[in-house]
């Protein structure tokens, strides 16, 4: 057992990874400000919850207008904890938007996007857009009145784009009308395309956070540049 552990430690470079990720020192952030720094990892945590609950829901869901609604009802009524998993995924989506937005506001008002963390911020904006994409595509999947009409409104808004609007709407809906193709498209985007993209973006984001080091809380009294000279 010990031998196996040692082998894994050396071959998987566990100690080095641990040192780089967890034993790294981070600038002091006291009190309430310290808690603001947890919003990033909280987003990651909610993302994990969404991955778990989403994978489970996909096991019993059919992206077809004939069966989507009934398969959701099946999850609600027949599957053990089905109601729970669906409710967690539903509210997890809302939490995701809230936590990610708060995280973004923290970075915005603390000016953490400044040198040398510009790229971290840009990847963060991409992550924010991906989250919005998730919530827009996921909303349609239950195929109930609310999801159908909200998506219809969304597609109509997209079609307002000058010049290319009607093409955007067609690409979104997979045709002129909302229907079976819209549902399969949204499902594929929600469960295959976006997860792939967001995973890559999360990895880059995390790498950059560790590489540049988490930003220190802004100085209160003196200009930060002056303090550096002191």
């Amino acid at each position: 057992m010990k031998l196996l552990w040692e082998w894994m430690k050396s071959r998987l470079a566990l100690a080095e990874i641990w040192n780089a990720l967890f034993s790294r020192h981070v600038p002091e952030a006291e009190g309430l400000v310290g808690w603001l720094y947890t919003l990033g990892s909280a987003s990651l945590f909610v993302f994990f919850i969404q991955v778990i609950t989403g994978s489970l829901l996909a096991m019993n869901y059919v992206p077809s207008p004939d069966h989507a609604y009934d398969s959701i009802r099946f999850i609600n009524e027949q599957v053990i904890f089905g109601k729970w998993i669906r409710a967690l995924h539903h509210w997890g989506a809302t939490f995701m938007v809230v936590v990610v937005s708060l995280h973004m506001l923290r970075v915005y008002f603390m000016g953490s996007y400044k040198y040398p963390r510009e790229a971290t911020w840009i990847v963060g904006v991409i992550l924010f857009l991906l989250v919005m994409g998730f919530s827009f595509t996921g909303y349609l999947l239950p195929w109930d009145q609310k999801s159908y009409w909200a998506t219809m409104v969304g597609a109509n808004i997209a079609s307002q784009t000058p010049a290319i609007g009607s093409y955007i709407a067609k690409i979104l809906k997979g045709g002129d009308e909302m229907g079976a193709v819209t549902l399969t498209r949204f499902y594929a985007i929600h469960t295959l395309v976006l997860p792939g993209l967001i995973l890559v973006a999360i990895l880059i984001h995390l790498f950059l956070v560790v590489w540049h080091g988490i930003s220190e809380p802004p100085q209160k009294n003196k200009g930060s540049d002056k303090k550096a000279g002191a």
Partner: protein, 169 residues
């Protein structure tokens, strides 16, 4: 003094680690519990038996096997499937019934009843079965499969699914 500080630091560190691990474990347990229950739910799902009403018992003539066609409506998760099926029904006294699966136990061909020979004949490999389903001749490995039957309120009900093999029912 310095050593004491260091010791304090270490015990504080291990205490924090303990808190992290136990909170993490609790969260893991909650998520695994819910997710695990969901994933394993097929284990606890009750099987829905759909007994088919084949009509009044007194309409079945004694001694002569009768092929009954019926429709089965079956719930398959979120969809309902309707399928046509049939069974051979035999009764000696209009009280005890036997229902045979209409497929030969050899390769699943539909067999028929021969009134002259008083045997079931399978056309595929010329197998024959006696009136109580036993193999008389030919390649079938076992007697005809049976469906569970019951009589409720003067109606004959069958459950069109083979439970066990041959005469086990």
């Amino acid at each position: 003094m310095e050593e004491k500080d260091l010791n304090n630091k270490i015990s504080r560190r291990s205490f924090l680690t303990y808190v992290i691990v136990s909170l993490g474990g609790l969260m893991g347990a909650i998520l695994t519990g819910l997710g695990g229950g969901y994933f394993l739910s097929p284990i606890w799902r009750k099987k829905e038996d759909s007994w088919i009403d084949l009509g009044l018992v007194k309409d079945f003539t004694e001694g002569e096997p009768l092929k009954i066609n019926f429709t089965v409506r079956k719930r398959d998760a979120w969809s309902t499937i309707e399928s046509k099926s049939s069974a051979w029904i035999i009764t000696a006294n209009q009280k005890d019934f036997i229902a045979f699966d209409p497929k030969c136990t050899h390769l699943g061909c539909p067999y028929r009843w021969s009134v002259e020979k008083r045997q079931f004949l399978c056309p595929c490999h010329t197998a024959t079965f006696s009136v109580d389903g036993e193999v008389v001749s030919g390649p079938p490995p076992r007697a005809l499969d049976r469906y569970p039957t019951k009589v409720v309120g003067g109606h004959l009900l069958i459950l069109p699914q083979v439970v066990g093999k041959g005469k086990e029912v």
